[in-house]
C-alpha cells in the first residue's frame, strides 16, 4: 500500500526531500513514514542491504509506539515525544520519532539503522537538524 522505493528514486519522495544524502549513508538500512493510527506506511525506503518486508515492519512499529504511548500514559502523560529506540542484538537499531503534522494525522518517522551505539548518537544529532515539515505536505 505504501509507496516503496529503492535508492535511485529517493530524491523525488518526501523521505528523500527530508533525509536527503542521509539515505545514501550505509548505516541506514530502511526508512519509512508511518501513520500511527492505521499502521499504514505512507512511504518506505529500503536500501539494497535490507530485505525486510517494510509493510510488515512499519505496521509492527506503529503498534510498538501505541503500546509505549498507552501503557505508560498514566506515568508519562506527555508521551514518548523524543521517540523510541529499540536496539537488537546484531547491532541493528529501530528509531521511531513522532512527526508533527499540520493536517492532524499522527505520523512517525521510522529508521532502521546498522552500527554501534556511538554511531547512533551521531546519527541522532544529524537527525535533529532535519526539516521534517516536508514530510507532511498535503494534496495540491
Amino acid at each position: 500500500m505504501g509507496r516503496h522505493f529503492r535508492e535511485e528514486h529517493a530524491p523525488t519522495t518526501k523521505l528523500g526531500a527530508v533525509l536527503g544524502r542521509l539515505l545514501r549513508d550505509p548505516r541506514i538500512l530502511a526508512a519509512a513514514l508511518v501513520d500511527y493510527d492505521s499502521g499504514m506506511a505512507l512511504e518506505t525506503y529500503g536500501s539494497s542491504r535490507c530485505y525486510l518486508d517494510l509493510e510488515l515492519a512499519t505496521a509492527g512499529q506503529a503498534e510498538l509506539m501505541r503500546v509505549a504511548v498507552d501503557t505508560f500514559q498514566p506515568l508519562h502523560p506527555a508521551g514518548p515525544a523524543d521517540g523510541l529506540t529499540v536496539s537488537y542484538g546484531d547491532n541493528v537499531h529501530h528509531l521511531l520519532t513522532p512527526v508533527t503534522d499540520p493536517y492532524g494525522d499522527r505520523l512517525l518517522l521510522s529508521l532502521i539503522v546498522a552500527g554501534s551505539s556511538a554511531g547512533l548518537c551521531m546519527l541522532r544529532r544529524r537527525l535533529r537538524t532535519m526539516q521534517y515539515h516536508k514530510l507532511t505536505t498535503g494534496p495540491c
Partner: protein
C-alpha cells in the same frame, strides 16, 4: 472557482487517480466529476456506490453503533476505490468517490490526501462557518503528539 471544482481538481491530482466524483448518496446523483469515461462510467458508479454507502450506514444503524463512517476502502485486482463521506448537516448526504490505478497509487497517501481535501471542502462550506475545526483525532482523549492540537 467553486469549492466543488477545487476539491475535484485536487482529488484528480492524487497520484494514480483516474476518476473522481462528488456524489449525493440520497439521490445517487453526481454533483461533479473528473475522469469518467466509457471504460469507467461514473454515471453508473455514482448511484451504485451510493447503495454501498447506504447499506453500510444501515448495518451500522441496525447494530446501534453511534458512530459515523469516515471512509471506505475497497481493493480490486488493479484498482483501489476510496469513498470518503463528507461531514455536514443531516440533510446533506455527500461523499467523494475516488478510483485509483493500483500500480501507480499509494493507498495510504491517497487516503490521507482525500481526508485533507474533505476537511478543506467541509470548512469552506458557508453553512459550516463557526463550527469547530476537527483537526487531529478524536479516537482517544489523550494529547500525545501535542503539537498537532495547535489550530492551523
Amino acid at each position: 472557482m467553486s469549492n466543488i471544482e477545487q476539491a475535484l481538481d485536487m482529488a484528480a491530482n492524487i497520484k494514480g487517480a483516474f476518476a473522481v466524483a462528488l456524489v449525493d448518496y440520497d439521490s445517487g446523483m453526481t454533483l461533479g466529476s473528473r475522469g469518467g469515461s466509457a471504460e469507467f462510467d461514473l454515471d453508473v458508479a455514482a448511484p451504485g456506490n451510493s447503495d454501498v454507502v447506504r447499506s453500510k450506514l444501515d448495518v451500522i444503524q441496525k447494530l446501534a453503533i453511534r458512530e459515523t463512517i469516515e471512509d471506505i476502502l475497497i481493493t480490486l485486482n488493479t484498482q483501489y476505490h476510496l469513498i470518503r463521506l463528507i461531514r455536514g448537516q443531516s440533510n446533506e448526504k455527500l461523499f467523494f468517490y475516488l478510483a485509483l490505478n493500483r500500480a501507480q497509487a499509494n493507498l495510504a497517501m491517497a487516503r490521507r490526501d482525500l481526508r485533507i481535501i474533505e476537511e478543506n471542502f467541509y470548512l469552506s462550506n458557508p453553512a459550516v462557518a463557526g463550527n469547530q475545526v476537527r483537526g487531529g483525532h478524536s479516537v482517544d482523549g489523550q494529547s500525545f503528539f501535542p503539537s498537532n492540537s495547535i489550530q492551523r
